[in-house]
Symmetry: C2
Subunit: 363 residues, 2 copies
DNA sequence: ATGAAAGCGCTAACAT
DNA sequence: ATGTTAGCGCTTTCAT
């Protein structure tokens, strides 16, 4: 690279430059403790002088590893506050780098378009309040693995009932999931998850401390494991505080409009003083409903969201929200990937991390 | 993969299965037109039956390509509405896939922490209203290139005055920039950018149509090329409509708090009826200021942001915002990457795309 | 249209 | 502690 014309140096170039054999250069890089200090230094100087970096393809071919971790990205959902991906992605890239890996992004091919209300779990989908693009949830994984393009996968969309997990496990594909294997309690792959129940408990306790008694839940359909987990934090703590939950719960799509309509319905009949929501998107819908009634979140009623999205941070008034420790999630995931690839036995197959509450003006 | 024990099939396995030589299998994959239809079909059946995918490392070693495109990700900035990355990233992954490539993510190593107001352009930084993590803007590129891990880069943070572009060009690194080479008008690398001036013009015309006459600008520091480009859309159209701009402009950090303070200051002395902002983050700050004065965006005053972030979409009232055609940006970038790697001459070194205006309740 | 030979750059296994 | 040999799986000549 130092001079554009000459081709990149190889092990052989460095070997000649340092006056040693190719193997010694290889050892200097991979097992420096084998070299006599003087030789090591001579080789390192040559490496430095030539600007040598070992060719990845050659190394990958020989070692049968790529030091790449595959991550399938789903389309960003419009009209939703769910911007977790940015934060998680960077944390993941940083963690993988510290472990000597890189992240390879891929995507599924779209198999069609779906309009209506999403209910099933057999295909991935991105619901944006109406239209969704359907993708085969397994598309892309197989080819990357067979071609040895990646060593392992990080699977993030397991919350839909993760059909991937079953398939990947059957094929003994190395992967770590962000999300518990809800539908398969006996699954034995490593996973990292955030305790949604604990997060909502934090929210409820916070609201009770603030004097609220009629606290409503606005969440997702009954079929959603994640949704029910978060909701259980509400029922648990409400029961513990001996507060009513009857008719104070609404379940539906993860859309702004459902949050809005649910809030209107609840306010019409049940007069809650606070809303706890399964997502920031729903919370934004609740805020919209309050606004439409001339009410103000934080003064007239309290609202708490889930995800601590950028929208929660910058909207007015600032939305109190449960924050997932994504940085820590990424670190734990990469640790598991390391264990997997080193064939170290996985002691605990899963790890649940505790979220925190970002308190802002709406509560 | 079909049976966990047996190792992955290779060209040789397929050749035996199909009763041809290894070379013929290779041809079937890479130059199918060379084979007689009957032979081709026989080979394809064998490929299918064995679940064969060519080993990437071996192919990469031989062809000296990786079919990987490197993208450096910067940390997600907290307390900012700037969630462009999600949308852009997915578009890029999709476009690259269609072109037979994958995206490899990497990150710079942090060299320190910075507190205060960002002004320089010599290092990358992420300003989050106070503390920033500094990274060497070139870190990571060189090693990936020397080791042939990637074929080319997509460089996204060129708006800071892109020191990368100069360095990468000097080394004749193949890369395409998202963002014009503002500081180096004679740079000859391919780039794709969005016309910020045109976006703001759209916003101003929209507001004038709505009857506004005192339209204020809330933007970034004078040193920001991007910021000045967007601002010129305001001055241009204001002049064209023969509307005043004097003392109606504020420039500062890209933070919610600056937007808020700027809005207060402008309202105290200049009584604007509308605000056009260089970013959604600033617009959110303006909305905060309005709220603090008991005013309502969309009823009492108009506000327009830039980026069409998720926050703009879900906040109440919905924020009118300039939307960048990121999907198209990604497509154009990948087209340039293809030209670059195929050594096709680059006809036009840069391409500017027109944004649109997403009109919502604040205007 | 198909096959044989060579070699990309590296590291594992073995020898010294 | 260093050198020698072989081969990972593929594609690029070149020959048939």
């Amino acid at each position: 690279m130092s001079s554009p014309a000459e081709s990149a140096p190889t092990l052989a170039t460095v070997a000649v430059e340092a006056g040693v054999s190719r193997q010694t250069v290889s050892n200097a890089l991979n097992s420096p403790e084998l070299l006599r200090p003087a030789t090591l230094e001579r080789v390192q100087e040559a490496v430095e002088r030539l600007g040598y970096s070992p060719n990845r393809a050659a190394r990958n071919l020989r070692t049968r590893t790529s030091h790449l971790i595959g991550l399938r990205v789903e389309p960003a959902v419009e009209d939703s506050a769910n911007a977790l991906m940015d934060r998680f992605l960077h944390s993941l890239v940083e963690s993988t780098r510290d472990a000597g890996y890189h992240v390879l992004l891929f995507t599924g091919t779209f198999t069609g378009t779906f309009t209506g209300t999403f209910t099933g779990t057999e295909t991935g989908s991105d619901v944006s309040g109406g239209e969704a693009r359907l993708t085969d949830p397994l598309d892309g994984y197989e080819e990357l693995l067979r071609s040895a393009a990646v060593d392992a996968f990080v699977v993030t969309d397991t919350y839909r009932g993760n059909p991937q997990a079953v398939w990947l496990q059957q094929r003994s594909v190395p992967f770590v999931a962000f999300g518990r294997p809800w539908a398969e309690p006996h699954a034995r792959h490593p996973w990292v998850d955030v305790d949604g129940q604990a997060g909502v408990q934090l929210a409820v306790d916070h609201l009770v401390e603030r004097g609220h008694q009629r606290i409503a839940w606005v969440g997702w359909h009954k079929g959603s494991y994640l949704g029910e987990d978060r909701r259980s934090g509400w029922t648990d703590r409400m029961d513990a505080h001996e507060l009513p939950t009857t008719r104070l719960s609404a379940r539906g799509d993860d859309t702004l409009d459902f949050g809005r309509r649910a809030a209107h319905a609840l306010m019409d009949s049940e007069h809650p003083t606070a809303f706890v929501c399964a997502s920031d998107t729903l919370a934004m819908g609740v805020m919209r409903a309050l606004d439409e009634r001339g009410l103000r979140a934080g003064r007239d009623l309290a609202v708490v969201g889930f995800d601590d999205s950028l929208a929660a941070q910058v909207c007015t008034p600032g939305l109190t929200s449960v924050r997932q420790p994504l940085e820590q999630v990424a670190v734990e995931i990469v640790r598991y990937v390391g264990d997997l690839l080193a064939h170290r036995p996985i002691q605990t197959p899963g790890r649940t991390l505790a979220p925190t509450l970002s308190v802002r003006a709406t509560s």
